[in-house]
């Protein structure tokens, strides 16, 4: 009997490859005749390019090409707004923008050539921040934009009447900062053009097909002339979706150099070129009844996208509306948000995709209001938690919600009912506990009214299966999950399923690994494909054994007759051979697609409707000790629970939850992109301090299985949601410990000491 791995702790099928150092990342690949690229980046936040002198660089031995923006295709590129060419032309809009590219025999020569390029700039006034950007008469980052990239206005119900009914109304402003994706592998690409004019691009990506679409568009080529091959991805976290420019520049250079070109970002370059998350200032006004039920909500967000809009507009949409959907009684909302251009580096997609920003504000706010009402904040969060079968204020049909259960798990874990009774610490170090909650989509119908996923399953004549998918394995466990589903359906060992990295020439089309969509969408597609393979096996077996298909079952790589004596069985290998070697036969392969019953709300002004086939929830409880003399926050314990519907692989879910919690901790306490007039000051890992093993507590991750009706075996996404509640849980714990509320991230020792001083001054006044 082959044991299914569904629901069992399963090491990732590609883990050995990675830990043995055998996995090949983009920067590992070499080709005959390969050249190396480097770019010169803008030293100015906002400047007109007056003149570029490349003569000296061109004259350097070993240099093959020195190219500027004027050499690039004239087609503009971008996500929603097409805003820039492959290299800057006319003017530069941020420090780090790519201005000149060099292709040379080796990387050092390319770097030498870069040093020889002279660019004359005429500096322009710099748009430093969103407030300044929106002032009348301010210079525009993009002509005619008024520095406004996009805005959302969503009104439901009668929010003024709801506020009038409220027992308590509270308003405040919160600020969040930008976070660098911090993947282990900086962006790297190898590209080459073949003699038929096709451009081949091997790169680190979350979506080979979105990359192909973008590259074909920018290079003004038919999509079939571009082939994107996914190398092993060393982490992505949103940063390798469709905004980074490493692959774009490299693909173009390959068309100019007529030799393979490899372009590897150093970490310093990656800091300058990567899209970090958008900083947001969130004004929040909420009305609750006497029992803490949230009945009215008004939100006003100013978010900064920096020099180019990219995906930041989509991120802002999430910050604007998504957190409302956690609250079952909320019917009346007024939401307004603006995305503003500045000359900061462009912002974009990052794990949680706008959710962490909103959650920080919302859960801080709930905790303040609970205290004002004399309620336990945990109780207030639970009372408002949406339930399975309910439809939220924005039309999300919540097939499954384990939000209350998540809150129960983390509060029991941290022993809230016991610890909340203890007297407040009065010494130098004071402990406190805080909670946060979060919601995330599993899939999001936002592109061309299709949010499907296709899996091709091919059974070889040995009865083993190869899967092709357009979704990306970026370390999160997608391939293991797909293999688990197929192995389970066909009752074969996990090792009999191989999942191939996406190659746009061979794999089925897919949007890729974004919006926590892969488990629920590709998982369903994989199950469907496996069942179709099973039907084909049964059809042949039925013919061969002379029994009706409904008398057949399969196990351990064999089809057998359920009712008959032993030995009435045929191995898959024989059936797969029979599938080919007969008149009119063919290899045993199927193509299956799952497109969920969802609505493309993002394309409508109302932003109303069920955008995802499932919604994941998470809660976190954190206990801190704050040193009142140094302002340092020590994390004593943290518990994070993820309602992922069903943990197909608890080991992977645990890894994702812990990773997400660490990323949230980093964002809240340790990581801080520091700018001086839009110039990044700490673009390196010595000065941009990501969490280390020493700086995080033992993270206890819990799983809630709410059994999503649309999910494969009940599963939903489990990679992003746990990123959402962390910041608020820490901010609330700090407040519980020392009575000061930090409303601007990151929570630094300096801010805590200043707030303590203010509090002391106020009490003496």
């Amino acid at each position: 009997m082959t044991t299914s791995t569904i629901g069992k702790e399963t090491p990732q099928i590609n883990a050995l490859e990675k830990v043995l150092g055998k996995a090949q990342y983009s920067a590992d690949f070499k080709m005959g005749g390969m050249l190396h690229a480097k770019v010169l980046r803008s030293p100015h936040a906002h400047a007109r390019i007056v003149r570029i002198d490349t003569d000296a660089a061109r004259a350097l031995p070993g240099v093959h090409a020195v190219l500027t923006g004027e050499d690039t295709p004239t087609k503009m590129t971008g996500i929603h707004h097409k805003q820039h060419r492959i290299l800057a032309t006319g003017k530069v809009r941020f420090i780090g923008e790519e201005v000149v590219a060099v292709v040379a025999e080796d990387e050092e020569t390319a770097r030498d050539a870069i040093d020889l390029v002279r660019v004359e700039y005429e500096e322009l006034p710099v748009v430093l921040n969103p407030d300044q950007a929106l002032q009348k008469g301010m210079i525009e980052v993009h002509e005619g934009s008024g520095n406004l990239a996009c805005q959302y206005n969503v009104v439901r119900g009668d929010v003024d009447a709801a506020f009038a009914r409220a027992a308590l109304v509270h308003e405040d402003t919160y600020e969040t900062h930008s976070q660098y994706p911090g993947y282990l592998e900086p962006m790297a690409t190898l590209a080459w053009r073949t003699s038929d004019g096709r451009v081949n691009v091997l790169t680190s990506t979350q979506s080979a097909f979105l990359a192909r679409m973008r590259l074909a568009d920018a290079l003004e080529l038919p999509v079939s002339k571009v082939r994107v091959i996914q190398a092993t991805v060393g982490g992505a976290f949103g940063g390798k979706t469709a905004e980074e420019c490493n692959s774009l520049i490299c693909a173009w250079l390959a068309t100019r150099a007529e030799r393979p070109v490899r372009f590897v970002n150093s970490r310093l370059e990656d800091f300058l070129g990567a899209r970090s998350s958008p900083p947001e200032r969130i004004w929040l006004k909420m009305g609750v009844d006497k029992d803490g039920i949230i009945i009215a909500k008004e939100v006003n967000i100013i978010a900064e996208c920096g020099a180019y809009e990219g995906l930041a507009g989509h991120v802002l949409q999430v910050s604007t509306v998504r957190s409302d959907n956690m609250h079952r009684y909320l019917k009346d909302v007024r939401l307004h948000s603006k995305l503003v251009y500045t000359n900061a580096p462009p912002r974009g997609a990052l794990r949680g995709f706008g959710g962490p920003q909103a959650s920080f504000a919302l859960n801080s706010h709930i905790t303040v209001m609970a205290e004002k009402l004399g309620l336990d904040p945990l109780e207030m969060m639970k009372r408002n938690a949406i339930k399975s079968g309910e439809t939220s204020v924005h039309g999300f049909q919540i097939g499954s919600s384990g939000l209350s259960e998540c809150l129960e798990q983390v509060s029991e874990g941290i022993r809230w009912s016991e610890k909340k009774q203890r007297p407040k610490d009065q010494g130098v170090k004071r402990r406190g506990i805080g909670f946060g909650t979060g919601i995330h989509v599993s899939g999001n119908r936002e592109m061309g009214n299709w949010d499907g996923s296709t899996v091709i399953a091919k059974m070889g004549t040995d009865g083993r299966v190869v899967l092709l998918t357009g979704e990306s394995e970026m370390g999160q466990g997608a391939y293991t999950m797909l293999a688990q589903c197929v192995a389970n359906e066909l009752s074969i060992p996990l090792s009999h399923v191989t999942v191939l990295p996406t190659d746009t020439d061979m794999s089925p089309y897919g949007h890729g690994s974004i919006a926590s969509r892969v488990t629920i969408l590709a998982g369903n597609a994989a199950i469907k494909a496996a069942r179709e393979v099973r039907s084909k096996l049964f059809a042949i077996a039925s013919e061969k054994l002379g029994v009706p298909e409904d008398e057949l079952d399969l196990n351990n790589g064999e089809v057998f007759v359920k009712s008959a004596a032993p030995n009435r069985k045929i191995p898959f290998s024989d059936l797969a051979r029979l599938h080919i070697y007969r008149e009119g036969g063919e290899g045993l392969h199927v193509t299956s697609t799952y497109d969920p019953p969802t609505f493309q709300a993002l394309a409508t002004p109302e932003q109303y409707g069920n955008v995802a086939p499932g919604y994941s929830f998470a809660a976190q409880a954190t206990e801190v000790a704050v040193d009142t003399e140094t302002g340092q926050v020590e994390l004593l314990e943290t518990w994070v629970s993820d309602d992922c519907g069903k943990a197909l692989n608890p080991l992977a879910v645990h890894g994702q939850s812990c990773g997400a919690a660490v990323m949230a901790i980093g964002w809240t306490l340790y990581e801080h992109l520091q700018y001086d007039d839009c110039r990044l000051l700490n673009g390196n890992f010595a000065d941009y301090t990501m969490p280390t093993a020493d700086s995080v507590p033992w993270i206890r991750s819990g799983i809630v299985e709410s059994n999503e009706p649309n999910g494969p075996y009940g599963a939903k996404g489990a990679s992003e949601t746990a990123m959402v509640p962390g910041a608020a849980s820490i901010a609330n714990a700090v407040y519980d410990a020392i009575g000061v509320r930090i409303k601007t991230l990151p929570i630094t020792p300096e801010k805590i000491l200043a707030a303590l001083r203010d509090k002391q001054d106020a009490s003496h006044a």
């Binding site: 030498d112 310093l268 340092q632 020590e634 306490l669 340790y670 010595a686 280390t692 700086s695």
Partner: protein, 293 residues
């Protein structure tokens, strides 16, 4: 990094000759933790890199009752921390070395390399200075010995002559019977101290007979807190005395301001660290640094 010639001398004399021959653009390499980063980022582009790895005289730790501890310049931090001699005679030094930076740096970086780099954001210089350590500089011309305070001159500047290398560090026998090197990280995710304070103490009960206090990391070069030392000497140390000593001490430093921390924040933290360290050495504070005798 740019190409360079990689040289591996087998003796101090040979290294010194190479240093003299390529003095216009060469770098010595010990553990290489700082140099590799600088090379890769092209912050330095030497024509010659002179590796010291083959010079046996630069290795080893010995102790002599008269001369004290001799630490070969190529001693890795982890070796210094793990040495039974360091642990026995200068536990404060061993303890500092066991906590500095991160495991990767401790296992690769060397004490000599650390001193020659003279990055202020590090722990060994202030700790060694509090213990009265001397740096031995060697060349073909012979050797000279400088106290740490005369070796580390400024932000990334040392007294090393172009043909010299640091061959060893000597820590003289001491009458201190207590001490602690406190390293203050702004957040738990930092690897480099924002502030540190090395306190070497001779105490008898609650009585401070002698003390050396050196503030590091917060200043361009380690700074002796002489006023605070004078104040403490000959006093019975109470919590109030510790606080007063810390107040005096912070008035004696000129803290640096950079993106890692504002000068006044550094001063405020030095005050806390100094008070806690002194109080901790006299058992006056709970939940504070352990007393490493």
């Amino acid at each position: 990094m740019r190409e360079f010639d990689y040289l591996e001398p087998n003796s101090i004399a040979e290294a010194s000759e190479m240093l003299a021959a390529h003095s216009d653009n060469c770098r010595m390499m010990a553990g290489g933790t700082a140099l590799m980063l600088a090379l890769r980022q092209r912050m330095v582009s030497p024509t010659h890199v002179i590796s010291l790895r083959n010079i046996r005289e630069l290795r080893g730790i010995t102790y002599d009752d008269r001369l004290g501890l001799r630490i070969g310049a190529l001693t890795r931090h982890s070796e210094l921390a793990g040495s039974t001699l360091t642990q026995k005679y200068f536990p404060m030094l061993a303890d500092m070395a066991s906590r500095l930076a991160n495991p990767q740096v401790r296992n690769q970086g060397t004490i000599g390399g650390n001193l020659c780099y003279a990055d202020p954001a590090t722990d060994p210089p202030s700790c060694l200075m509090a213990l009265g350590a001397q740096v031995v500089l060697s060349s073909t011309k012979g050797s000279r010995m400088l106290p740490v305070e005369d070796f580390v001159l400024d932000y990334f500047v040392t007294a090393l002559a172009p043909d010299e290398l640091v061959s060893e560090i000597r820590v003289p026998p001491s009458s201190f019977n207590s001490g602690y090197h406190a390293r203050f990280l702004r957040t738990a995710a930092e690897h480099r101290p924002l502030v540190n304070l090395a306190a070497a103490m001779k105490k008898s009960g609650d009585f401070c007979e002698d003390v050396r206090l050196v503030a590091g990391a917060s200043t361009a070069k380690p700074t002796r807190l002489l006023g605070a030392e004078d104040y403490l000497k000959g006093k019975s140390v109470t919590a109030r005395v510790a606080a007063e000593a810390a107040d005096i001490g912070v008035s004696e430093v000129e803290p640096i301001s950079d993106i890692r921390g504002d000068g006044e924040f550094r001063r405020a933290m030095l005050r806390v660290v100094a008070r806690r360290t002194i109080a901790g050495l006299f058992g006056l504070a709970e939940d504070l640094p352990k007393n490493v005798a």
